[in-house]
C-alpha cells in the first residue's frame, strides 16, 4: 500500500521526541527520527539493537594482526638473519607491527562499515528532513494513509510535538 501523506512532527526536546517514539512503536507505526545530537536515550528508544559496525571492526582488527604476522614473519623467513643463534622469528618487536596494523585496519573498518550501514554518502533528499533537525529541533517523519493521519498526529501532539506538518512523501531532488 503506497503512502499518501508524510507527517513531520517537530519536537523542542529529546524527552518529547522519545515519548512520541515510544507511542508510535506501541501502535506499530513505522517512522523515521531526526536528531541534532547523539542521544543514546533516543537511539535506545528507537531500539534497533546493537550496530553491526562492531563486527566489522573485529574483522578488521583480526585482519590487521594477520597482516602484521604475514609481513614480519614472512620477511624473516624469506631473508633470515641468523645471528648468534638468535631466533629467526623474534616475536617481541613483531608484536608492535601487528598491534599497529590491528589498530589501522580496525579503525578503517569502523569508518568504512559506518558509511556502509548509515548509507552514506546519500545526497538525495530524505522525506521529512528539515534544516532545523540539524540545529535545535528533533523530528519524526511518518509515511501513512490519509485515513490514519489524524490518529498519528494525535499521538505526536500528545507526546509534546510543537508542530506537525503535512508533506509530500516524494519531494523533488535538491539542486546542490
Amino acid at each position: 500500500m503506497s503512502a499518501e501523506i508524510e507527517l513531520v512532527g517537530t519536537f523542542a526536546g529529546e524527552e518529547e521526541c522519545i515519548h512520541a517514539v515510544e507511542a508510535l512503536k506501541r501502535n506499530g507505526v513505522a517512522f523515521r527520527v531526526f536528531s541534532p545530537i547523539p542521544s543514546e536515550h533516543l537511539v535506545h528508544a528507537i531500539g534497533h539493537g546493537t550496530s553491526p559496525v562492531r563486527a566489522f571492526v573485529l574483522i578488521g582488527g583480526i585482519a590487521g594482526v594477520l597482516a602484521g604476522i604475514a609481513v614480519t614473519v614472512g620477511t624473516s623467513w624469506e631473508w633470515n638473519l641468523i645471528v648468534g643463534g638468535k631466533p629467526v622469528v623474534s616475536w617481541p618487536p613483531f608484536i608492535i607491527i601487528m598491534f599497529e596494523l590491528m589498530i589501522l585496519l580496525g579503525g578503517l573498518s569502523a569508518a568504512a562499515s559506518f558509511f556502509l550501514f548509515a548509507r552514506l554518502p546519500q545526497f538525495d533528499p530524505i522525506p521529512g528532513y528539515s534544516e532545523r533537525f540539524s540545529a535545535d529541533r528533533f523530528g519524526i517523519a511518518v509515511e501513512c494513509d490519509e485515513a490514519d493521519s489524524a490518529k498519528i498526529e494525535a499521538m505526536m501532539r500528545e507526546a509534546g510535538a510543537e508542530e506537525i506538518a503535512h508533506e509530500d512523501p516524494r519531494p523533488e531532488p535538491a539542486e546542490h
Partner: protein, 456 residues
C-alpha cells in the same frame, strides 16, 4: 578585565551554541589573511632552506659527529607529543564520559592532526637523501629488499603513519554531523563545500546508531594507539645503548610528557582564540580549569620521571651514565636543562591554586613555559646525550645552523597556518556534543566562575 566585561548568558540554548560556532566560521577579515600570509612567508623560507639542504647536503646543518640527531629529531618528538593531547581529550576522556571535554576536544583533535602532519615532515627533513624515504615501508621491489622489523625506526614509520591515518579518520568522522549543521545554515559556495563534506548526513536514528558505535570503537582503538605511539617514539632512543637514552622508564615518561605539552598547547591556543572570537560562553573557565588540572597532573608525573631517572643513574653508579647526567646538570647544556625544570616541574606547581587555574593570563604564561620546557627536554635528551658518548675523544657540542632554526620556526608557522585555516572554515567546536551536554555548560556558567561579571 574591566574592558571585556559583557553580560554572560547563563542559559545558552542549542541555537546559542550554533550561533557561537557559526560566528567563528564567518568570512574572515584582512587581519586573518595578514596572519596567514605571515605564516605562509615563514613556511616559504623554511621550504627554500630545506630545498637548499636537499641540493647541497646535510652539511648546511649543525649535524656533525657525534651529534647526528639534534634539532630535527627534537622537533619530531615535540610535535608527536603535541599530537597526544588530542587523542587524550577526544578519545580517552570520551571513554570516561568526561563532561568538560565537549567544548575543547575538537580543538585538541585538530591540533593532533596538524601536529602529526608537522611531525611526519621531520624524519624526511632529517634525511640526507629524502627521495629514498619510502625504503622504510615494505613493498615489492626488484632488489627483494625488505625493512628490518627489529628496528625501532621501522616501528616508528608504522606507528606514526597509523596515528596520522587514525587521528584523521577520527577527526573527519566526528566532523560529519557538525558539518551537516553548517551546511544547513550556509549559503553560496560554502553550502556546496559543506554539503560535500557532510556526505548527506541527516541525523536519522539509524545514522546516529551506527555513528555512536563507530565513534566509540574508534575511541577505543585510538586510546591504546596514543600510548603505543609515544612509547615507540621513546624506543627510538631507549633501544640504543647510549648513556642518557638507554632507560626502561622512557615509554611512560615520554607519554606523560607528550600529554603535558599537548594539553599545554591546547590552553595556549584556546585562550587567545576564546578572546578574539568571543567564545567565553562556550569555553568557560570551567573547561580551562580542568585542562589546567591535566597539565598539573602530567607535570607531576614528568617531575617524578626526572627524579627516577636521576636516582637510577646514581644508584647504578654506571660511570658513563653518571658523566652524561653530570654534563646535563652542570655542563654546557645546563642552562637549558634548568629552564626545562622550571617550565615543566616548578612553574606548573602554581596550578595547585584555583585562582591561577582560572586566570587566563597566568595560564597562558605557564603553558607557554611548559611548551618551551618540553621542547628543551627533548633537545637535552637528544643532543645532550649524544654530545657525551662512550668515547671522550668524540665529545662535541652541537650548535644549530640557521637552516635548522628557520625550519623549526617554519614548522610552527606551518602548524599555526593549517590550524587557523581549519578553525575559520570548519567547526572547531563540536556543536552536537556541546548541545548533548548543554546542562553541564549551563551549570558551569551559573557557578561562580565569573566573579564580578554581570549576568543576563
Amino acid at each position: 578585565m574591566a574592558a571585556a566585561v559583557q553580560p554572560i548568558n547563563t542559559e545558552p540554548t542549542y541555537a546559542d551554541v550554533d550561533r557561537g560556532v557559526h560566528r567563528i566560521m564567518d568570512p574572515p577579515g584582512l587581519m586573518f589573511w595578514a596572519w596567514i600570509g605571515f605564516c605562509a612567508t615563514l613556511v616559504g623560507i623554511a621550504a627554500a632552506l630545506w630545498t637548499r639542504q636537499i641540493y647541497v647536503g646535510l652539511g648546511v646543518t649543525g649535524l656533525r659527529q657525534p651529534n647526528m640527531w639534534a634539532v630535527y629529531i627534537t622537533n619530531f618528538v615535540f610535535w608527536v607529543g603535541i599530537a597526544h593531547s588530542g587523542t587524550l581529550i577526544s578519545a580517552i576522556l570520551y571513554l570516561f564520559r568526561t563532561r568538560w571535554r565537549t567544548a575543547v576536544y575538537r580543538f585538541a583533535e585538530t591540533m593532533t592532526l596538524f601536529a602529526v602532519l608537522t611531525a611526519g615532515l621531520f624524519p624526511l627533513v632529517h634525511l640526507g637523501r629524502v627521495w629514498n624515504a619510502y625504503w622504510l615501508l615494505p613493498y615489492p621491489n626488484e632488489r627483494s629488499l625488505q625493512p628490518n622489523f627489529r628496528s625501532p625506526l621501522v616501528w616508528d614509520a608504522f606507528a606514526v603513519s597509523t596515528y596520522l591515518i587514525i587521528s584523521a579518520t577520527f577527526l573527519v568522522m566526528g566532523l560529519i554531523p557538525d558539518v551537516a549543521n553548517a551546511r544547513d545554515a550556509a549559503k553560496g559556495w560554502r553550502k556546496t563545500f559543506y554539503s560535500i563534506l557532510a556526505v548527506g548526513w541527516r541525523g536519522t536514528g539509524e545514522q546516529w546508531r551506527h555513528f555512536q558505535m563507530m565513534y566509540l570503537l574508534l575511541a577505543g582503538l585510538a586510546t591504546p594507539l596514543v600510548i603505543s605511539v609515544h612509547s615507540v617514539v621513546s624506543w627510538d632512543f631507549a633501544m640504543a645503548q647510549l648513556p642518557g637514552w638507554h632507560s626502561t622508564i622512557f615509554a611512560p615518561y615520554f607519554v606523560a610528557g607528550a600529554i603535558l605539552s599537548g594539553v599545554a598547547l591546547v590552553i595556549t591556543l584556546i585562550i587567545p582564540m576564546r578572546r578574539l572570537l568571543n567564545l567565553e560562553e562556550l569555553i568557560t573557565p570551567w573547561h580551562l580549569d580542568n585542562l589546567a588540572k591535566v597539565v598539573l597532573l602530567t607535570s607531576l608525573i614528568v617531575s617524578y620521571s626526572y627524579i627516577t631517572e636521576t636516582f637510577m643513574t646514581w644508584y647504578s653508579q654506571d660511570q658513563y651514565e653518571v658523566v652524561t647526567f653530570q654534563a646535563r646538570y652542570f655542563g654546557h647544556y645546563a642552562p637549558l636543562f634548568w629552564l626545562m625544570v622550571w617550565g615543566n616541574c616548578v612553574f606548573p606547581l602554581a596550578l595547585f591554586s584555583p585562582r591561577i587555574r582560572r586566570n587566563t593570563i597566568w595560564l597562558l604564561i605557564i603553558t607557554i613555559f611548559v611548551n618551551i620546557g618540553m621542547w628543551l627536554e627533548r633537545f637535552v635528551i637528544i643532543a645532550g646525550s649524544l654530545a657525551s658518548n662512550f668515547n671522550p675523544s668524540q665529545w662535541a657540542i652541537f650548535r644549530p645552523s640557521i637552516t635548522e632554526i628557520m625550519i623549526t620556526v617554519g614548522s610552527f608557522a606551518w602548524f599555526l597556518m593549517l590550524f587557523s585555516l581549519f578553525a575559520r572554515y570548519l567547526p572547531i567546536i563540536s556543536m552536537t556534543e556541546l548541545k548533548e551536554g548543554i546542562q553541564w555548560l549551563r551549570q558551569s556558567l551559573r557557578d561562580n566562575y565569573y566573579p564580578g561579571l554581570p549576568r543576563e
